[in-house]
Symmetry: C2
Subunit: 425 residues, 2 copies
């Protein structure tokens, strides 16, 4: 038997026991985990420094190095995230619905853990602690398959996590790390029907595609975000520019950054010159004809120094740039904006900026996406921002879980039926 | 383009419009459908009689002929089912949760339709109407792929349904029938990523396996039921025999029939001779050594005429007989019963018959199944019995939907976030 398969079995065994633990027991174990990460901080940072050093020598790009790196603040954030998970209500054992049948049978729908989850993720080591804390609180065992670049960080973190769970009276075996570094591990996980109940890929497009295409077990697709902001004439243009800037620049490489700006024809003259000034030298604009004309007309002789203005090509509407690039298009109505979004969007996060309550209502009802915003930055689509303490990722599918995934995504239900001898006639 | 692919597109278009209909509009369309089935009753029965005649000539077995056959009572049941669906609350547009973030952003989780569903089912034509009424009420379009044996019945029913929906002011295009009779249809459905949001196989084991193994779109697995009843000493043996008889004999070919009886050692002497008398000439018992000994000792010279008693072989514990056969095994404790069930069961429906509240509690918490019963027949695992009016099938998976599937199984959520200019810092 492959060592990973015996790990599947031990996770299943631990999960069966974990499913029976009450909130006090689970929270005590999570407090143990929190303390252990704090106590082993130096060791974790040393292991991470070794990973970072190795990655640098292999020529990893700066943005990825940053994603891989831990420091004192990031360890503090990890610990704070666990504390929020501890404060969350227990998602297990809730009666979601209940009723009595005409024959007297009493039927209840009760939340139970989903089972054994696997997460396959790229370099961020904070995902390791986030995923464990959410899974443990939801009564699920978790198999972690991080990237080889973060192997030492993850090994050290998982050692601390398991020791901490045990010190808190919990079940260290509910956490497993797939650390052979071999690609076969992923194939074994994706084929583990009946042994792993769900797999969550978290990372770049290629990873997610590979998992979705090959999994024989349920997958929750995450991450791809071709997101839009649509601006109406009554939006208040200063605030609109702030929101667009935040959605593009606060972290351009993330799935909830804005990629295409849709502007109502009657908002273009006011909004676009302001935006051009704000983005000059910072963000390349890929404009359709009318939006380009609005910028040129609005700026006139005062063309902002450093502004890069290109003609949009059709592929721009369907591209998740993850970069300092924004596509811009003029539309004639909220309906046209909705149609564009439902055609090109990835059902992630979409926003309308408007003063018109009817337009907001239409937009929110008709845009098909996990998160639909009125008058706010789409960068809030995040488990931490939503108050979940951590997140397992952002589901872009409709099946089972949608949007930022916290505890609820790792639960399912069981019907409990209580009778007094009823038979079916 | 294959005609089925243009059907996919027209279903998607209709679903986009159906998603925006309110309860009044949807219920009016369903009333139209109900009236049309009633009005076209003779035509439907004639088409069904032709299907039945053809099936008989091809040598279809009686049980399957029965499943294929419609009559006035069954049409009445179909109509009554639609009436119950009409009376159900609208599952769409419910605020499932909502909260305000520290920055003032208001976050709501709102139920929305899952999208376009496909159902691939064997001969029962009543599934046609059940699936349409649930899907329509949930704002979903539905693609029906029935068996070739029921082709004329389904064509006539779907004609009535579409005319009825239209007459009620609804969207006939939200319903599609794949009726070329070709097996390629199934492959096209299973490959329709992004065009069909979920596929529900409903029928025999082979159909379900084929769908699960080949689908590139989300599947809800249904149906397989290796179900158990466990009897404790204080259960009240007369009532226990009634429940076991009901669970085995009320409809032996269904997934919620009992297949293995587990008897506590101290209940065997009282229960098993009673059961042997009740099942003599009707159900074959496949016993382990101790249960066989209890029957022989209890019946003594009065061995019930016609009783078939065989030795159980290991495969019997994992077999869904769907027949007049019951496996019987003695256990020493509720824990041993739970262990047996969690090892051999298919996570469908499981019951404990007991007078001991602690045993019931342990059983309900630790048995991993969609439906766990105390002191009642497991035959109640059914959307109609649960009060849903109809069912899309009984999910034996944990992902997205579990147990009898009514309206809720065809919904998902959308986050609606309302702000006043918030940006992420």
């Amino acid at each position: 038997m492959n060592p990973l398969e015996s790990l599947f079995d031990s996770l299943r065994n631990a999960q069966t026991r974990l499913a029976l633990q009450n909130r006090q027991e689970k929270d005590a174990a999570l407090r143990g985990m929190m303390n252990a990460i704090d106590a082993d901080r130096e060791e974790i940072l040393r292991a991470n420094a070794a990973d970072v050093e190795r990655a640098r020598m292999r020529g990893m790009k700066d943005a990825l190095i940053d994603r891989l790196s831990l420091n004192d603040k990031r360890i503090n954030d990890i610990i704070a995230g666990i504390a929020v998970v501890i404060r969350q209500e227990d998602p297990i054992g809730k009666v979601r619905a209940g009723w009595t049948l005409p024959n007297g049978l009493f039927v209840e729908q009760i939340t139970v853990p989903l089972g054994v989850a696997a997460i396959i993720y790229e370099s961020r080591p904070n995902v390791t602690a986030d995923a464990v804390s959410l899974a443990y609180k939801a009564g699920c065992a978790i198999l972690l398959r991080g990237s080889s670049a973060a192997l030492e960080s993850n090994r050290t973190l998982v050692r601390a996590i398991k020791a901490g769970l045990a010190a808190g009276g919990g079940l260290a075996d509910a956490v497993g790390l797939a650390d052979s570094g071999s690609r076969d591990e992923i194939d074994l996980i994706l084929a583990a029907r009946g042994r792993i109940d769900v797999v969550l890929p978290r990372g770049g497009r290629d990873l997610i595609r590979r998992v979705v295409d090959n999994a024989r077990i349920p997958v929750i697709e995450t991450g791809e975000g071709n997101c839009h902001i649509y601006v109406e004439p009554g939006a208040g243009m200063a605030g609109a520019v702030d929101i667009i800037e935040n959605a593009k620049l606060q972290k351009p490489g993330t799935c909830n950054a804005v990629e295409t700006l849709l502007v109502h024809r009657h908002a273009a003259a006011e909004l676009l010159p302001l935006l051009a000034v704000r983005f000059a030298g910072r963000v390349e604009l890929r404009c359709d004809g009318p939006s380009r004309a609005a910028i040129l007309a609005g700026c006139g002789a005062a063309f902002p120094p450093g502004l890069i203005l290109k003609d949009a090509v059709p592929e721009d509407w369907e591209t998740e740039f993850l970069d300092y690039i924004l596509a811009v298009k003029i539309v004639d109505s909220v309906e046209e904006a909705i149609e564009h979004i439902n055609r090109y969007g990835t059902r992630h996060s979409e926003a309308i900026l408007t003063g018109d309550i009817r337009a907001a209502e239409t937009f929110c009802r008709r845009v098909d996406a996990a998160c639909v915003y009125t008058n706010a930055s789409i960068r809030f689509t995040d488990g931490g921002e939503f108050g979940f303490g951590a997140e397992l990722g952002i589901s872009t599918q409709k099946f089972h879980a949608r949007g930022p995934m916290g505890l609820e995504a790792l639960t399912t239900i069981k019907y409990r039926i209580t009778g007094s001898g009823q038979i079916r006639s």
